[in-house]
C-alpha cells in the first residue's frame, strides 16, 4: 500500500449501552482517495464513519474503544477538542440539514464560528462553486435555504462543509434522500471533489460504491470483512460473505 494514510483505526470498537455495534476494526484511509463503506443495514458502517469526527460523542450511551489516528494523532486522546476534529474532518449527513437561515448564512456560519478573517463573501462563492451550486443560487444568496430542492439542499450542505476547508469529507449516505437525477448530480460532484479531498462515503447502494469509489470496505455485523480496491472487491471478492452480499444473495 503506497499512499500515505490520512486516517487509521486500530482495534476500534463502539458500544451503545450494552449493544456492541462495531468490533476490532483496523483499517487505513489513504490520502485523496474516495473510500466507500458498504454493508447491510445495521452492519455498523455509519457508526464507523462517525468515529472519524467524534460524532458518536453526541450519543450519551456510546463508548469508543481502540484508537483513531488522524495523520498519526489519536483523535480520542485527552485534550483533543472535538470541535477542532470536526473542522478538519467535515461531514455530510443522510438527510439534507441546512440551517433555517439564508443560503449565504448557511455557509458563513462555519466561517464565523471559526474566526475566519478574510472576505466571507469570496469564500461563500468559492464553496458554492466547488459544490456545483453557484450557478443555481448566485442571484438569490439571501433566499431561505429551506426553499431549495432536496438535491440543492444537499449540495449546499456539501458547500457548507467545504467552506471551512476540511482535509477529509465524511458522507453518510448523502444521496439516500434524493431522486435519481439529484443522485446523479451528487455522484458527479463527488467525482469533481476526488483528488482534492479524502472522501469517506457510506452507501447502501452497491452500484453507487462501484461508480464513485477507489476503495471499498465491506462490513458485516460490526466486523470489517473485506477492504480493497473497489474494482477488485466487486469482481473478485475473497470472502464468501462479501460475494453473497454483492451478488444480492444476502442483505
Amino acid at each position: 500500500m503506497a499512499p500515505e494514510a490520512v486516517l487509521e483505526t486500530v482495534g476500534l470498537g463502539v458500544r451503545y449501552g450494552e449493544t456492541r455495534v462495531i468490533e476490532d476494526i483496523s483499517l487505513t484511509i489513504p490520502t485523496r482517495r474516495v473510500v466507500a463503506f458498504i454493508g447491510p443495514s445495521g452492519c455498523g458502517k455509519s457508526t464507523l464513519l462517525r468515529c472519524f469526527n467524534r460524532m458518536n460523542d453526541l450519543v450519551p450511551t456510546a463508548r469508543v474503544t481502540g484508537r483513531v489516528l488522524f495523520r498519526g494523532r489519536d483523535l480520542y486522546a485527552p485534550g483533543v477538542e472535538p470541535a477542532d476534529v470536526r473542522r478538519a474532518i467535515g461531514m455530510v449527513f443522510q438527510k439534507p440539514n441546512p440551517f433555517p437561515k439564508s443560503i449565504f448564512e448557511n455557509i458563513a456560519f462555519g466561517l464565523r464560528i471559526n474566526g475566519f478573517q478574510d472576505d466571507i463573501g469570496d469564500r461563500v462563492e468559492a464553496s458554492l462553486r466547488a459544490a456545483a451550486l453557484w450557478d443555481e443560487v448566485s442571484h438569490r444568496l439571501d433566499a431561505d435555504a429551506l426553499g431549495l430542492s432536496a438535491g440543492q439542499q444537499q449540495r449546499l450542505c456539501i458547500a457548507r462543509a467545504l467552506a471551512v476547508e476540511p482535509e477529509v469529507l465524511l458522507m453518510d449516505e448523502p444521496a439516500s434522500a434524493l431522486d435519481p437525477i439529484a443522485t446523479g448530480r451528487m455522484e458527479d460532484l463527488i467525482g469533481e471533489l476526488r483528488g482534492d479531498y479524502t472522501i469517506v462515503i457510506v452507501t447502501h447502494n452497491m452500484q453507487q460504491a462501484a461508480r464513485i469509489s477507489d476503495d471499498t470496505a465491506f462490513l458485516y455485523m460490526g466486523e470489517l470483512v473485506e477492504y480493497k480496491e473497489t474494482q477488485r472487491l466487486f469482481t473478485n471478492p475473497e470472502d464468501e460473505r462479501t460475494e453473497a452480499y454483492i451478488t444480492g444473495r444476502r442483505g
Binding site: 470541535a83 440551517f99 456560519f109
Partner: protein, 300 residues
Amino acid sequence: MRKSEPGSASRVGERLIGALLFSSGALSIVATVGIVVVLLTESLGFFAEVSPVEFLAGTRWSPDLVPRSFGILPLVNGTLLVAGGAALIALPVGLATAIYLSEFASIRTKRTVKPALEILAGIPTVVYGYFAVTLVTPVLRTLFPGVGVFNAASAAIVVGIMILPMVSSLSEDALSAVPGSLREAAYGVGATRFEVATRIVVPAGLPGIAASFILAISRAIAETIVVTLAAGATPGMTLDLLQSVQTMTAYIVQVSLGDAPSGSIEYRTLFAVGLLLFLITLALNLLSQRMTTRFRESFR
C-alpha cells in the same frame, strides 16, 4: 336483511353519544359567549355615561370619589409595571433555564428538573400572594427603608417567580422541538456546544420562545391575587416599583368585594375594566398561538 337491525341500533347509540359530546363542547362555548355578551352589554351602559376617549386616555382613576374621573391609564400603568417587572425576571431566567435543560443538562437531570418545574406551576396563586406579603415585602422594606407595606416591586418579583416555570417549560419544549439534525450540522463544522445552543438552536426555536414569553406576560397581566395582596390599591401614573400601585385586576377585586349598587356607574366600571383586560389577554394569547403554529410549520 339481518344486518340492518343491529346496524340501525348502533347508529342511534352513536348519534346519542355524538349529541352528548357535542353538548359538552357547546357548554364551554355558550359560557364563553355568555361572558363576552355580559361584558359587552354592561360596558355599553358604562360607555353611555363615559366617553371611550376619556376612559382610554384619561390619567386619573377615581370612580368613587367626587370629582369622579374614569381614566383607566393609571390601572393600565399599574398592570404593565407589575407585568413588566415580572417579565424582567422571568424571561431571561426562564430562557436560560430552558437552554440549560435542553442543551446542557444530562437526560437524568432533565427528567428530574422539568417535572419539578411543572409542579411549581401548579402551586395555588394565593400561596404566592402570601409569600409576597410575608417574605418578599419585609425583605424589601429592610433593604430599602421607606418602602411601604404595599409596593409594586414585591408583586413583580413574586409574579415573576410564578410565571418562571411557564417560560422555562414552554421554551424548553420549543428548543427540544428543534431537529437534532440541525445540531449535528452545526457540530459538523466545528461548533462548540455553546455555539450550537446560542447560534442555531435558540434562533431556530425563536417563534416558540416568543410564544412562551407572550403567554407568560399574558398570565402576569391577568394575575389577580398576588397583586391585590402585595401591590395595594393606589391607582397612579408611576414607574417607581417601590410605590404602591393598583392593577386592573386588583381594582376589579376591590369593587367586587365592596358594595357598589348594581346598575350604578361604579358597578359598571367593573365590566369596562374587565372588557379591556379580556381584550388585552385575548390579543396576546392569539398572537402566541399564531407564533406556535408558524413554528410548527417551519419544521414539518
